[in-house]
C-alpha cells in the first residue's frame, strides 16, 4: 500500500476550488451546479431534501412521503420553522414502503393512505413526495394524486423528488412547481396592495421579525413562502403587487414563475446584517412606489442601526483580525455572511456552498481577498485541508460540519435549519455577533494545546 498516496484534493474536484489569484470564478473558472463526485463525501443532500426544505414549513399541509421509512424518519420535525397556527407539518406521514411494495408497486398503498387521511382528518392540502424507489418502480403518483384530488375536492399535489433525479437545487425547483400547482387555480385579475415574502422559512421566528418590520413601515404582507405559511394565505398571494425573495437559491424560480403566470414582479432581498436589512426595507418601499413607507423605513432602520452602533463597536474590538471559514447551502447566504464578517473586522479565508450558482461565485469573488479559497460542493477533506492551511478561527456552517470544526479546534457558528436563535434582521445581527464572539473567545480554546488555530 506504500505506493498509494493519501491526497487532500481529488483531481475531479480541482476545478471546483478557486482563488482570485488563481483561476477566477468567471468563464470556465468555477465548476459548479453539477452532480457530486462519487466517493468525494459531498455535504449535499438530495432532491427530496431540497423539496422538503421548501415545502415542509407550510403549516396546515399534510406532507406524505411516498417511500421507505428512512426518508420520513430523517426529516421528521428536525427543522426550526415555527408556526403561529396549525402544526400539522410537524408530523411526518409515510407510506412506509416495504419489500412487497417494491415488487407489487405502491400506488394502491398510497391511494388507501390518502383515502384514510382524507376521511379521518379532513385535510385542506396534501403534498405527496416521490422518493428514489418510487421513481424506479414506476408508481403513477400523478394519477393517484389527480384522482384523490377529484374525489375529495382538495389539492393533492405530487412533488417529483426522487433523490437521484438531480441535486438539492432540483428539489427546490420541484417544490416551487408544486407550489405553482397549488396557486394556479387561484389566479386573480385584480391586484391588491401588499407583498409576498419568498424564501424565508421562519427559522427561529425570522419570518415574524421581517413581517414586524414591514408592518412598522406600513407594507402589508399577503403571504409567505413558506415560513409559517398556510393554504388560505397562499391562495390569496396571486394578487400581490410585489414578491420579495429572501433565499434566492430556493425561490427565484418560484418568483419567475409567479411573474410569468400572475404578473407579479419581484426583487431579491436579504435580511441578514444591518446593511442588507436596511437596504431591503428601502427597496421594498421603493419598488412599491410607497414614499411614506420609504420614509418610515429610513427612520426605523436609522434608529435600529444607531442602537446597534455601540454594541458592534464593542464586539469588533474582540473580533478584529480573526479569520472565518464559511460553508453553507446557498450563495446568497454566503454573500451575506462575508459582508457581516467584514463589518466585525473578520476576514473570510474560505467560502463555499453546496448549491451556489456561477453568478453567486462571481459575486463572492468580488467580496473576498486574493487568496481566499472559494469552493463548490466541498467535502470534509477539503474543508479540513483549507481551514488548516488558512488558519481559520471559526467555521460557519451546518450540523454535519460542526464536529469537524471542533475536532480541528476551530470555533463554530450554526447557520443551519435547526438553529433556535434568529439571525435575520437587527435582532439577528445582535445574536450573530454574540454567537461568533461566544464561540471564538470561549475559554475552552485556551486548553486546546497545539490546536490548528
Amino acid at each position: 500500500m506504500a505506493d498509494i498516496e493519501q491526497v487532500n484534493i481529488l483531481d475531479e474536484r480541482e476545478k471546483s476550488i478557486v482563488t482570485k489569484h488563481g483561476e477566477r470564478c468567471s468563464g470556465d473558472g468555477m465548476r459548479c451546479n453539477t452532480d457530486s463526485v462519487s466517493g468525494a463525501v459531498s455535504q449535499r443532500a438530495c432532491v427530496y431534501c431540497g423539496a422538503r426544505v421548501v415545502l415542509n414549513p407550510i403549516t396546515d399541509a399534510y406532507h406524505i412521503i411516498h417511500g421507505p421509512i428512512g426518508c420520513s424518519s430523517y426529516t421528521w420535525d428536525i427543522r426550526g420553522s415555527l408556526t403561529s397556527g396549525e402544526d400539522i407539518y410537524r408530523n411526518s406521514f409515510c407510506t412506509d414502503l416495504r419489500e412487497r411494495d417494491i415488487i407489487f408497486g405502491g400506488a394502491e398503498k398510497l391511494t388507501k393512505a390518502i383515502e384514510e387521511l382524507a376521511e379521518a382528518q379532513k385535510p385542506k392540502l396534501i403534498f405527496v413526495y416521490s422518493t428514489c424507489i418510487v421513481g424506479v418502480i414506476g408508481d403513477d403518483v400523478d394519477s393517484v394524486c389527480r384522482h384523490m384530488s377529484e374525489k375529495y375536492k382538495i389539492p393533492v399535489i405530487p412533488v417529483k423528488s426522487p433523490g437521484f433525479s438531480g441535486n438539492k437545487s432540483t428539489g427546490y425547483r420541484m417544490a416551487c412547481d408544486a407550489i405553482m400547482q397549488l396557486l394556479l387555480p387561484h389566479k386573480s385579475g385584480k391586484k391588491i396592495q401588499g407583498i409576498n415574502i419568498l424564501g424565508d422559512y421562519n427559522l427561529a421566528g425570522e419570518m415574524w421579525i421581517i413581517k414586524n418590520y414591514l408592518k412598522k413601515i406600513g407594507v402589508p404582507v399577503i403571504a409567505s413562502f413558506t415560513g409559517d405559511a398556510n393554504y388560505d394565505e397562499m391562495a390569496r398571494s396571486t394578487s400581490a403587487a410585489l414578491n420579495v425573495v429572501q433565499c434566492a437559491g430556493s425561490s427565484t424560480y418560484l418568483a419567475d414563475r409567479m411573474e410569468e403566470e400572475f404578473g407579479i414582479p419581484y426583487i431579491k432581498v436579504s435580511f441578514f446584517g444591518v446593511e442588507d436589512t436596511t437596504n431591503s426595507l428601502l427597496r421594498i418601499a421603493e419598488a412599491l412606489g410607497n414614499e411614506e413607507a420609504r420614509e418610515k423605513a429610513l427612520k426605523f432602520c436609522g434608529s435600529e442601526t444607531k442602537k446597534l452602533e455601540g454594541f458592534l463597536a464593542k464586539y469588533r474590538k474582540n473580533l478584529e483580525g480573526k479569520k472565518a471559514a464559511i460553508y453553507v447551502g446557498g450563495g446568497f447566504k454566503a454573500i451575506s455572511l462575508i459582508r457581516q464578517f467584514d463589518l466585525m473586522g473578520i476576514k473570510t479565508v474560505l467560502v463555499g456552498t453546496q448549491t451556489g450558482k456561477k453568478e453567486d461565485y462571481e459575486l463572492i469573488e468580488n467580496l473576498v481577498d486574493e487568496d481566499t479559497v472559494i469552493l463548490d460542493d466541498a467535502n470534509p477533506a477539503e474543508l479540513e485541508t483549507f481551514m488548516k492551511e488558512k488558519g481559520a478561527d471559526i467555521l460557519t456552517g451546518g450540523v454535519k460540519e460542526r464536529p469537524l470544526a471542533y475536532k480541528l479546534g476551530i470555533a463554530f457558528c450554526d447557520h443551519n435549519h435547526e438553529r433556535k436563535h434568529a439571525l435575520a434582521g437587527f435582532e439577528g445581527v445582535y445574536n450573530f455577533t454574540k454567537e461568533i464572539n461566544e464561540s471564538i473567545n470561549n475559554p475552552v480554546w485556551e486548553y486546546v494545546k497545539g490546536a490548528c488555530v
Binding site: I4, N91, L117, A120, S165
Partner: protein, 814 residues
C-alpha cells in the same frame, strides 16, 4: 388553532424506526481504518451523517456513489468504482464497507460482482478489504442493518482458521461509553477478546493535536479474521434477530457460542459475569461484587419512588428488552412497550417481567406492540396513563405535548448533548440509568404534588372560598371571572341576575320539551315571564339597588340567546351597559349561531360566554339533537351534529381569540356521550376554554330522552374529577333557573321576582308579611337532597308568623 392528528392504519405517522443503512453505517464505524460508501443517491449518506453527527458529536464521513438519473437507468457500476477509487485516495482505508440503499437494490446492482471487477481492474488495491453489505432501506430497521454488517463480516470475510485463545464478542449498538465499560470488564477477567464491532473510540473520540481523517479506534481487520479460530463467541443481541453472527461462526467454523441479552439490570448483569467467570476460570472479582452491592443498595433506596412509574418504552427490540427488564426489576411498570420494527415475537421476550410486575401491583392494563409509529405510541401513552417515557429523543414531541418526562437512551439523541456517553450496562450503568428514571419521576412529583393535593382536597370543596386564579387572564377579566358566581366558587359572594329575554330556540334537544324552557343552561321549571329589553333594564336597576353586590347580568334563554331573539338580547345588553358601565355580561348559548354573532358579542362587552356542547364528534352530537333549524333548513342526525359541532367550535375559537372567558357545559347522557366527555373536555382545553361544567341530564317527561337513565351524582363527580386532570372543572354548578337572581347559595328569584312585579310591589309586600310558601326539593323527605329539576314531588311548607309548617306534597308534571 391546532388540528389533532390521530393515528392511521395505512400511513405511518411519525416513524419509530430508521432504515438499514443507518445501522450498517454504525456497525462499520467499529472496524479500524474503515470507510463506508453508500451505493445510492447522495441524500442517504448525508441524512445518516447528520443524524450521527448530532448524536455522537463526531465527524462521521460516509461517502456516497451519488447515483444520478444516468446511473439509475444504466446501472451504477461506473459510479461505484470511481467512488471506491476516490475514497481510497482521500481516506487511505484498510477496509471499505459498501452498503446498498433502496435505490441500488431496486435497480438490481450486483455489488459482489462490482467488487470482483474492481479488484481485477485495480490490482494495486488488492490489500484493501472490500465488504459489500446488502442494506436496502425498505428491508428493515437500523438494528437489522447493523446486524447485517456483523453477519457479513462473519460470513464473507476471508478468515484465518488457525485456533487461538480469543473470545469473539458480538456487541449490540450500545453507547460508546457502555462499550468501553464492557471492554474494561473483559480486561478485568483477562479475557482476550475480538470485538465485533468496537465503536468505543471511533464514535466518541478525544481531542488530539493531530486530526485523523479516519479515527484510529475500532477492531483491526486482521483481528476480525481470527474470529474463525476463536475458542468461544459471546453474542449480546436481541434473541428475535433472525441474523446471528455467532451462529454463522458456529456453522462455518464450529466456534461454540452463547447468545445473551444486554447486561442491563441486576439479573442480566449477574448472568453476564457468571458467564465471564466460567470462560476465564476466575472468580468474580471483589470490585464487581462491590459494584453489585452498590446497585442493590441504590435499588432499595429508590424502590418506593419507582413504584409510581408507568413507563412507555420504545425503540428497537434489543433495547426494549433490556429496558423492560431493568424497569420491571425496579418496580417501574412498563405499560406501553412498542417497537417500530416488525417483530411479532416481541411479546414473548418482554411479557413475562411485565406480567410479573402487574401481578404485584394489580396492574393488568398494558400493551406490547410491534410495527408501531409514534402517533400510536402517543395515543397509548394517554390511554395507559403513563408518566415516564424511555427511549431515543424522537419521543421529544410527545414529551412536549403531554408533558411526560423522557429519559433519553439509545439512538438517536439529538436534542441533548452526550448521547454517546449515556450508560445502561453493568451494575454502574444500570444504576445511572435507574437514577435518571427515578429522578424524572421525582421531579414530576416534586413539581406537582402541592397543586395536585390542592386540587384533590381543596378546590371545589366546601372549605374552598379563596381560590386564586393562576391562568394568564388579563387583570380585568380575572376580576370579572373571580366575581362571577358561575365561574368561580368564590363568586358566591357576588350576585348575578339572569334576564329572560330570549324565548326562541333554534334547536330541539332530545332532552327538552319546549314549554319548559331550555334545560341546557337551566333546567329551571318555568321562568315567570319573558321580559322586554326595557323591562329587563328596570329589573336590573331594581335588583342592583337591593343587592349592591350584583356584578353579573346574564342572558340564559329561556330559549337560545342567539336564536330568534338576538335583537332583544343586544338591546338589553346595550341598555344595561349604559346604566352600569361596570357590569359583567355573560351569555349562554347552544353555539349554533355563535360564529355569526361572536365578534358582535365581544363589541357589546360580553366577557363570559357559556356554550352547551355535549359532544365534539358529529355522530354523537347528532344523537343529542332531534333537529336543528339553520339558515332556513332543518337538519337531523349526523348532518345536524356536524353543523352544531363545527359552529360551536368555530364560535368558541372566535371568542377565545378575543380573550373572552368561555365555559362549556356538557350534559352527560348515559349511553350516548358519557365515554366521549373526556374528549370534549380535551378539545375545550386545547382551544383554551376556561372551565367545563359536566352536568347531569335532567330527564323531562315528554322529551325523547325521558327514559334515559340518569347519571348518578357519584358518576358525575367521578367524571368531573377525572376531567379535572385535563382542565378546570366546575364542581359547584347549581343548574340555575333562567331567571335566577342572587347568589348561588341564596336564590332570591321568587322573592325578588314578586318584588319586581312593578304594579304589585306594595301589595306583594303586604302578602309577604302574611305568609310564604316554600317548595322543598327532597327525595328522602328529611333533607333537601335533590335538585329541583329532578324531583317528582315537592314538599310544600308554609311560613307564617315566624314558623314554617309542612302543608302537603305536590306532584310535579315533568
Amino acid at each position: 388553532m391546532k388540528t389533532k392528528v390521530t393515528s392511521l392504519v395505512n400511513l405511518n405517522t411519525n416513524p419509530c424506526k430508521m432504515c438499514m443503512p443507518m445501522g450498517a453505517a454504525t456497525a462499520l464505524c467499529g472496524i479500524r481504518d474503515c470507510i463506508t460508501i453508500l451505493h445510492g443517491s447522495q441524500g442517504c449518506a448525508t441524512y445518516i451523517r447528520r443524524h450521527m453527527a448530532t448524536h455522537y458529536n463526531e465527524p462521521v464521513d460516509i461517502a456516497s456513489s451519488s447515483l444520478t438519473e444516468q446511473g439509475t437507468v444504466y446501472g451504477g457500476e461506473k459510479n461505484l468504482k470511481q467512488g471506491l477509487k476516490n475514497v481510497i485516495a482521500l481516506y487511505h482505508p484498510k477496509v471499505i464497507g459498501i452498503m446498498t440503499t433502496c435505490l441500488a437494490e431496486t435497480i438490481g446492482e450486483d455489488i459482489e460482482g462490482i467488487k470482483e471487477r474492481f479488484y481485477e481492474e485495480n490490482p494495486q488495491y488488492q490489500d484493501i478489504t472490500i465488504l459489500p453489505v446488502s442494506s436496502p432501506g425498505y428491508g428493515g430497521t437500523q438494528y437489522e442493518g447493523y446486524m447485517a454488517v456483523l453477519n457479513a463480516v462473519a460470513d464473507k470475510l476471508e478468515m484465518n482458521t488457525q485456533k487461538n485463545e480469543k473470545v469473539n464478542v458480538i456487541l449490540p449498538p450500545q453507547s460508546p461509553a457502555d462499550i468501553r465499560y464492557l471492554k474494561n470488564i473483559f480486561r478485568i477477567f483477562e479475557i482476550d477478546t475480538i470485538l465485533l464491532p468496537d465503536i468505543a473510540d471511533n464514535l466518541d473520540g478525544g481531542h488530539t493535536e493531530e486530526y485523523s481523517r479516519l479515527p484510529k479506534g475500532g477492531t483491526d481487520i486482521t483481528e476480525l479474521r481470527k474470529m474463525a479460530g476463536a475458542r468461544f463467541t459471546i453474542e449480546i443481541s436481541d434473541k428475535s434477530s433472525a441474523v446471528s453472527p455467532a451462529q454463522t461462526l458456529f456453522e462455518k467454523y464450529q466456534v461454540p457460542y452463547k447468545r445473551m441479552l444486554s447486561p442491563a439490570g441486576l439479573k442480566a448483569t449477574d448472568d453476564f459475569y457468571e458467564l465471564l467467570s466460567q470462560l476465564s476460570g476466575k472468580d468474580i472479582p471483589e470490585e464487581i461484587k462491590t459494584a453489585r452491592s452498590r446497585y442493590l443498595d441504590g435499588m432499595i433506596d429508590s424502590h418506593k419512588y419507582n413504584s409510581a412509574g408507568r413507563a412507555v418504552i420504545y425503540g428497537e427490540p434489543e433495547f426494549i428488552t433490556a429496558a423492560v427488564r431493568l424497569c420491571a426489576e425496579n418496580g417501574i411498570m412498563p405499560v406501553v412497550v412498542s417497537t417500530g420494527s416488525v417483530c411479532p415475537d416481541l411479546k414473548q421476550y418482554v411479557e413475562a417481567p411485565i406480567a410479573d410486575m402487574g401481578k404485584r401491583y394489580f396492574v393488568d392494563d398494558y400493551i406490547i406492540s410491534d410495527d408501531t409509529d409514534f402517533k400510536e405510541i402517543e395515543e397509548y401513552a394517554v390511554k395507559y396513563k403513563s408518566n415516564i417515557m424511555i427511549g431515543n429523543s424522537d419521543g421529544r414531541r410527545i414529551e412536549e405535548q403531554l408533558h411526560i418526562p423522557l429519559v433519553r437512551r439509545a439512538f438517536p439523541i439529538h436534542d441533548r448533548i452526550g448521547g454517546q456517553r449515556l450508560r445502561m450496562l453493568g451494575y454502574e450503568g444500570s444504576l445511572s440509568f435507574l437514577d435518571e428514571m427515578t429522578n424524572a419521576l421525582l421531579s414530576v412529583t416534586e413539581n406537582t404534588f402541592k397543586e395536585n393535593l390542592y386540587d384533590a382536597y381543596y378546590r371545589g370543596t366546601p372549605i374552598d372560598c379563596g381560590e386564586k386564579e393562576k391562568d394568564e387572564i388579563p387583570a380585568d377579566m380575572l376580576k370579572k371571572t373571580i366575581e362571577h358566581p358561575c365561574y368561580n366558587c368564590a363568586g358566591h359572594k357576588f350576585a348575578r341576575i339572569h334576564l329572560p329575554v330570549a324565548p326562541a330556540c333554534n334547536v330541539q334537544c332530545n332532552y327538552c320539551v319546549r314549554k319548559f324552557d331550555c334545560p341546557n343552561e337551566s333546567r329551571p321549571g318555568v321562568t315567570s315571564t319573558i321580559l322586554t329589553p326595557a323591562e329587563a333594564l328596570e329589573r336590573y336597576k331594581t335588583v342592583k339597588e337591593k343587592l349592591p353586590n350584583l356584578t353579573v347580568a346574564g342572558i340564559a334563554g329561556p330559549g337560545d340567546s342567539l336564536a330568534g331573539n338576538y335583537p332583544e338580547v343586544k338591546k338589553t345588553l346595550q341598555l344595561i351597559r349604559e346604566y352600569d358601565p361596570d357590569v359583567t355580561f355573560c351569555l349562554s348559548t347552544n353555539g349554533l349561531m355563535l360564529p355569526f354573532y361572536a365578534e358582535e358579542l365581544v363589541k357589546l362587552g360580553v366577557s363570559h360566554v357559556t356554550v352547551t356542547m355535549s359532544a365534539v364528534d358529529p355522530s354523537i352530537s347528532g344523537k343529542i339533537y332531534k333537529y336543528i333549524d339553520y339558515m332556513g333548513s332543518r337538519y337531523e342526525g349526523e348532518a345536524a351534529g356536524a353543523i352544531m359541532v363545527s359552529n360551536q367550535l368555530s364560535g368558541l375559537r372566535i371568542l377565545l381569540a378575543h380573550g373572552i372567558i368561555c365555559k362549556v357545559n356538557i350534559v352527560t347522557l348515559k349511553g350516548i356521550n358519557e365515554e366521549h366527555i373526556p374528549q370534549v373536555v380535551q378539545a375545550c382545553r386545547d382551544m383554551g376554554c376556561y372551565i367545563t361544567n359536566i352536568m347531569q341530564l335532567i330527564p323531562v317527561k315528554g322529551s325523547a330522552f325521558e327514559e334515559l337513565p340518569m347519571v348518578s351524582n357519584k358518576e358525575i363527580q367521578s367524571l368531573r374529577n377525572s376531567c379535572n386532570k385535563i382542565m378546570r372543572q366546575m364542581f359547584h354548578c347549581k343548574q340555575c333557573r333562567a331567571d335566577a337572581v342572587g347568589t348561588l347559595d341564596n336564590d332570591l328569584s321568587i322573592d325578588l321576582g314578586g318584588f319586581l312585579d312593578k304594579d304589585n310591589i306594595e301589595e306583594k309586600k303586604e302578602e309577604e308579611k302574611k305568609k310564604l310558601k316554600f317548595a322543598i326539593a327532597s327525595k328522602s323527605g328529611v333533607l333537601v337532597d335533590m335538585h329541583f329539576g329532578h324531583v317528582e314531588e315537592f314538599y310544600i311548607y308554609q311560613y307564617e308568623n315566624g314558623t314554617p309548617r309542612f302543608i302537603g306534597k305536590r306532584n310535579v308534571e315533568k
